[in-house]
Symmetry: C2
Subunit: 323 residues, 2 copies
């Protein structure tokens, strides 16, 4: 492509931490469509002038996006995030400045949903724990491993019935599970029961979280919810660590007041409470529910679709509701 | 119940290993419907005469049932097994003596199916392996765990589309998977593709086994099948260990010629090939896919339904085809 044609491509500001590079497939594809301003790159240079006219920004999770950066970009109108969660972006400030925000939308939904289902079955059926039992050579010595509990046919609660929660619900229906959900608004056309938090906790044996972390959802799963969930209840968290009061959860698990947990996210990643390491009813995963080679390609498509929609004055594909 | 009424209840011979007792819920429920002859019990006594008239036998997995026992029971007409697999029962001898055999039928199907799905996602997404990574304290030291591979939308092969295979297929459809299957007969009314072994191995990325172990299915999954399956292929075995040529599988896994394996069963249980212990693409489980408290109750119902059908001259609920 000649310099002249290049100059006509829209500008995109890349907000990232220096240690998190754009995946190579992103860079090469994005460069065919946009001119990239990447201040975190050592080899990159850009003019003050280009910053003053840039209208769209791609924000790589987990790089924060706060007013200092927004102040540099007076023409910014659109932020596209590479993640489902957008708690690293100052949404209040974006709303104030009338900057639209789009997240990863449906890009990861199937990847995260299948991982959530596996975590749930793993906790209930003690799959990881029985694998450790075999690896430790205990099967010939101690005989049968203890029974787990069945998922199929059980009542499952889903907190947040967005892209991901809906994909989980669809899968669990095929396991004969009946689904109750908690959401800000009742969803049309779903055969599931909307319920309040404590009601859902009392009625369901398992409980999966797919909400975006905001001030409203911080420690949404607190002591009262865990008490209502009780000894047969299992919490699956693949949203954000701080949606659950982690200290309380550790206490409930250590004291056996809750049935188990499958956790892909934690309040202070990569630190995981060590008390959980020895519990056979807990499955710990290093924040990787979204991560497959397939989801990366899918993410690239959703990010590009949002950016192209913005530059064509069309509605964003997966806008975040900032109201 | 008076002795007289008791005497009118049909006799059931219990075939079991001394170390495997009938679960208490079985004993109490069965005793309301049948008189039990339990030679493995130390406290039990029975007459030669009762053996000569007993018409039905309950065979507790893994107790073998061969001609020595059948010789003791000249009036035997029906064997009801507590397992899906019936390789511990001499089926040829049963056929010769015109003894009908029923297995656990649908009792475990949902339990096994959900376990198989979890094994499959675990292997593809490296769930157990990433859990070990967290427990070993490696997350803060080494950063992100490597990507797994997505299940949703992939092509899955199922060997044996009986009770269990059908339940697995139903669940995987909700993951957007397309299903190919191998079976002795084409199934009516299923939206799945019937294929030959090598064709199915070449076309699918994962491969799950739910066949009964017989002379025909011994080492059904051999070197040729594994070669066709290739480096992206994953084998899930929750049927019987000997359906797979285990020595070959270990070689394929150790040399990286196959993508991974999720194994609930092994050729010489409880011995598991130690070469598999250190592989992160292998999930090992101690033959527990069927085992939940719920499945035990369900099994009791199926066993009783078969016995009652036999004594009422009705067709068995879950007969094994002995032809």
């Amino acid at each position: 492509m000649g310099n002249e044609e290049q100059d006509e491509l829209p500008l995109i500001f890349i907000q990232r931490l220096p240690q998190f590079n754009l995946p190579p497939i992103f860079t090469s594809r994005l460069q065919t469509l946009f001119r990239l301003i990447d201040p975190a790159s050592q080899s990159h240079s850009h003019s003050e002038e280009s910053l003053s006219v840039v209208r769209a920004l791609l924000c790589l999770d987990p790089a924060p996006l706060h007013s200092q950066t927004l102040d540099l970009l007076p023409s910014l109108q659109c932020v596209v995030a590479t993640s489902s969660g957008v708690d690293h972006i100052d949404l209040a400030e974006c709303r104030r400045r009338r900057i639209a925000v789009a997240n990863a939308g449906p890009a990861f939904a199937a990847d995260v949903a299948e991982y959530a289902v596996a975590l749930l079955i793993d906790v209930l059926r003690r799959l990881s724990a029985s694998h450790r039992y075999v690896r430790a050579g205990l099967w010939p010595l101690n005989g049968d491993y203890s029974l787990g509990s069945k998922l199929s046919g059980k009542r499952v609660g889903i907190v947040g019935l967005g892209y991901i929660g809906s994909e989980v619900a669809k899968r669990l229906q095929a396991f004969g599970c009946s689904i109750s959900y908690l959401s800000r608004k009742k969803k049309a056309h779903v055969p599931f029961l909307i319920m309040q938090m404590l009601a859902i906790s009392k009625m369901t044996v398992t409980f999966s979280l797919f909400v975006v972390l905001t001030n409203e959802t911080y420690h949404l799963i607190n002591k009262d919810v865990m008490t209502a969930l009780g000894k047969k209840g299992v919490i699956i968290n693949i949203a954000r660590g701080a949606v659950v009061d982690e200290k309380e959860l550790v206490q409930f698990l250590v004291q056996g007041h809750i049935g188990g947990a499958g956790l892909d996210v934690f309040e202070n990643e990569p630190d995981v409470p060590k008390e959980l390491f020895e519990l056979d009813n807990v499955v710990l995963s290093p924040h990787k529910a979204v991560a497959t080679p397939e989801s990366l390609e899918s993410l690239l498509e959703v990010n590009i679709a949002n950016l192209e929609a913005f530059f064509s004055n069309k509605p964003l594909l997966s806008p975040i509701d900032l109201e």
